[in-house]
Amino acid sequence: MGRTLSQKVWDSRVVRRAEGEPDLLYVDLHLVHEVTSPQAFDGLRLAGRRVRRPDLTLATADHNTPTVDIDKPIADAVSARQLSALEENCREFGVRCYPLGHALQGIVHVIGPQLGLTQPGMVIVCGDSHTSTHGAFGAVAFGIGTSEVEHVLATQTIAQARPGTMAVTVEGELARGVTAKDVILGVIERIGISGGTGTIVEYRGAAIRRLSMEGRMTVCNMSIEAGARAGMIAPDDVTFAYLEGRPHAPTGAAWERALDGWRSLATDEGAAFDREVRVDARQLRPYVTWGTNPAQSSTIDGVVPDPESFGDPARQETAARALRYQDLLPGTPIRDIAVDAVFIGSCTNARIEDLRAAAAVIDGRRVRDGLRALVVPGSAQVKAEAEREGLDALFRRAGFEWRAAGCSMCLGMNPDVLGPGQRCASTSNRNFEGRQGPGGRTHLVSPVVAAATAIAGHFATPEDL
């Protein structure tokens, strides 16, 4: 009886296992940001504790940072205080920090992989639920709360019961125009927002193997939207090619040794998962969410569903409530829904390939009159790379605003928010009520659908233009 990928990584990081207690896991990389850490550092101070391994801890400012005028003082005093608290805490406790304005600053889940810090077989945690992103490299990576952040800072370990295992196999070939974002939206639509609760999901199958590293990160990123503790993909040559040469990747003989270990990180033949789900890639189309949770989606060719069409009365009520909030009528073709704003950004879809794909769609076209369109690169490095390629000029010419890196309108913490009633096509990960600003209405889409929608003014694919 073999073991799954997640079990192998998990077992390799167990510091202590005792009957009736959760496993004590060693943490190889702890990513820290300004929003979920200040109370944790306060806790350390109160107890007279230090950060056990500053060399395995990296901080950056992303959630609460402005994306315009980043060289000027921050207008919101409460936000300014939180950002300066991060820098002061990192200085006091000896933690490396990439603050706003630093060349390596960016969304925490974009910079880890970019720097080569995210590697196969590691345990990675961060006070953010989208830590699941790093699982794309074959790491066990999951989000934690502030008390656990403090625990990891103090002990470099975390006490966790071993989760269950789930396999999501996407076989076959994706149709043209169907992206990694559509794969994960399609999976969530099938298994539901709590379909992965209590498990680590391993994504497998030919369609997953053919995704780039960045596409794999998009898939793993949204594992939490299916309720999963983490998402993982077994490392392969695509992974190794992405890692080789990055600043923190091993080199020389150490690279060869690391590769030997990484190649063993695959689910054993005959290992059993607690649950298996199969998805036929050929059935996936570009998805657009219509509701207020990420499972409430339709293919772009579809219509807003009738809540009555859901069998379970509780789901009927949830759908009806979502349609009221979203101000949508059953039967409306998705393509007929007009939007007020387009947001291209977030840890889900703000890496360089995402920006290139969106840019290719808008090249030479204009954003629909009256529509607000924002591009927020995932990191300062992604921004710099895009600017080297001239993508900033291309977006600007089309009528997009080109912003500095951060989480921005994904969660509406900084000034980038929707107004009440405004409707947004967003490449982010959550369409909860008010997520992008009180009263705002979010529809999750891929970068290419977001770009085409910005041009058309209503939901569209590049082929529709």
Binding site: D28, D55, G127, S129, H151, A254, F432, E433
Partner: protein, 186 residues
């Protein structure tokens, strides 16, 4: 207090605009900030003022890992939540700060909700020692592992507990592969 909605996400429990605070306190006023603008929302119902137990629909606490959601609930006075299921991170966050999450079968939660709606004075008792929820003549057991139960009952410091195993941590640390990445420090 009965909150008969499924999939209540942490963005509803405490919206992002509240997360700018660097303190652990001051979140109570932000609890369900958007929903409570509706006078009919149950949090505004004076009959349930001061309730210490929240009865909720399945998958309570999904979404963001923000522990601030638990702090907001605690500050409002809740000490326990009863639901058919909880999101993983939310449940962990609750365990870390002494909020009890009692998972009961869906029909039991529904009956409790109906009973509390019919009689707001009904007392619901959660016995962490016995791992039971009792009300209206019914008693239901809920799953609670020994470790979490012990910490809830004794209010122990998790970090202090782990540091009892500091030698295990050091021993493990010494075996880590040399190629694993290290950051230079501040």
């Amino acid at each position: 207090m009965p909150l008969d909605r499924r999939d209540v996400d942490t963005d509803q429990i405490i919206p992002a605009s509240w997360l700018k605070r660097v303190e652990r306190t001051g979140f109570g006023a932000g609890l369900f900030e958007s929903w409570r603008r509706d006078p009919a929302f149950v949090l505004n119902d004076p009959r349930y003022a001061g309730a210490a137990i929240l009865l909720a629909g399945p998958n309570f606490g999904c979404g963001s890992s923000r522990e601030h959601a638990v702090w907001a609930l605690q500050e409002h006075g809740f000490r326990a939540i009863v639901a058919e299921s909880f999101a993983d991170i939310f449940r962990m966050n609750c365990a870390r700060v002494g909020m009890v999450t009692a998972q009961l079968p869906g029909n039991a939660v529904s009956r409790l909700m109906r009973a509390v709606e019919a009689d707001y004075t009904l007392s619901v008792v959660i016995d962490v020692g016995d791992r039971t929820v009792s009300a209206a003549g019914e008693t239901h057991a809920f799953p609670l592992d020994d470790f979490t139960r012990m910490r809830l009952l004794e209010g122990l410091d998790d970090i202090g507990l782990t540091l009892r195993h500091a030698r295990d941590i050091s021993r493990y640390e010494a075996t880590r592969a040399a190629h694993l990445p290290r950051i230079g420090g501040a």
